[in-house]
Amino acid sequence: MKTTLSILQYRDIIDAINVTYGINLKQHAMSSLRQHLLMVMGKSKYSNPSLVVKGIKEDKQFFEQILSCLYCEHISLFRDPAMWRILKSNVIDQLPKSTQLKVWIPEVSQASDYYSLLIFLKRINALKNAKIAITDESITNLDKCRAGEVDSNIINTSESNIKRYDATADLYNYIKQSGRKFYVDKSLLKNTYIQKGGVLDINIPFKPNLVLFRNKMIYFNQVKQQKTINQIHKQMLGGGFFITGVKEDISNFEIKGKFRIHNKEEQIYKRNF
């Protein structure tokens, strides 16, 4: 019998997480979060909804599983290869070579955009001088990023995506297999600053001029989406670039004076002063 989660059960779970760990998921989009919870429950010993609240309170590992899957993406590297091409041609190539890229990737999650960024910067010889910060609520996700671990399920699609980005690129120049697991070349991981925390309550040690936050706000409700936009605006340097998912149109929100569209198709925004 398929497990379901009623609205009351869902709300109890969210309250338990808030009370026990101080993480407020009330402003996440209910439909997606419910789906993620069901998925995590299905893979754990807490498949019965009545056990989940207890599991959250007593089993930190179970909670960490939920947290690591908040943006359960299974997104391959170089998703939307056109965005990476436009980022290169319309943003990076337009800047002077002296410009230092300071990048922030909030809610790094399964790190597909993080690893894509490392490879992208390496290919254009901009990685050495770049500063990169990745943040996430989940220690599991951050540890995986430290190790450069890549989800093996996404390798095949990533291979074809990187070719779509640049026909001369070969994923295996940057990713190696070790047993059944895949890892990004360790030399790419050196410049990264890693910090635990959610996008709304974190302060990274530098002001970024590029923020990559693709397909994460789709998991927030509209209230949290607006708060996130405000927060990212506050954290960034004026003149910097903010990139969202291709179907995350922030111009529907209150962004007047905060951001303006730099490239509509790939949802690249420029932060106003």
Binding site: S31, S32, I75, D80, Y219, G245
Partner: protein, 189 residues
């Protein structure tokens, strides 16, 4: 029964393109209800599909962005490489959740979420397709007292999809494309 229907949700895969374009070509520009299309499509092809559909359609076709409101008189097409979910509050939500039935967008997720939100105010229409995606979604539509219609499998290029739905849930009507068109046109009247 067409009374009270306020939303038309259509799912399709292999072989459904011709059926969809025929339906869209017959819907008048002032058709008052929103039509939501969840069609299996290539993940990395973002443009071209909507333009191809728009050639035949009199109504405007839109790929919704996340949290876009559902408005009357528009056709919404699930964007490539995102699941299209209907949320309480009458808006769309997108997801990059893993493939469901090897598909993203998955018809099951669209139908299931639409059924929970629209309940008895929706009609779910399943067209030709080569896998079982959408069958569970149609069951959800039926459980929530929406109307369930499948394309006549004898007319389909690939009959798996409508037949799978028919196997696991009660289907209110098995129609040809022309009958589906007549049904849709009758709803607002």
């Amino acid at each position: 029964m067409v009374q009270g229907i306020k939303y038309v949700v259509i799912g399709g895969s292999a072989g459904s393109f011709r059926g969809i374009t025929k339906i869209l070509s017959q819907i008048p520009v002032d058709y008052p209800l929103p039509i939501i299309l969840c069609l299996h499509r290539l993940k990395h092809v973002r443009s071209g599909f909507i333009e191809a559909l728009a050639l035949k359609s009199k109504m405007p076709i839109v790929e919704p962005s996340d949290k876009m409101s559902i408005s009357r008189g528009k056709i919404y097409l699930a964007p490539a490489n995102y699941h299209l979910i209907i949320e309480l509050g009458n808006n769309f939500a997108l997801s990059t959740f893993d493939n469901v039935n090897h598909s993203r967008p998955a018809i099951d997720l669209t139908f299931d979420s639409a059924a929970r939100v629209f309940r008895n105010k929706m009609v779910g229409i399943m067209l030709s397709g080569a896998n079982k995606d959408g069958a569970k979604g149609m069951r959800s539509v039926h459980i929530n007292r929406g109307v369930t219609i499948i394309q006549d499998p004898n007319e389909c290029q690939a009959r798996t999809m409508p037949e799978s739905a028919n196997k696991i849930t009660k289907i209110d009507h098995i129609f040809s494309i022309d009958q589906i068109i007549n049904y849709i046109l009758k709803i607002p009247k």
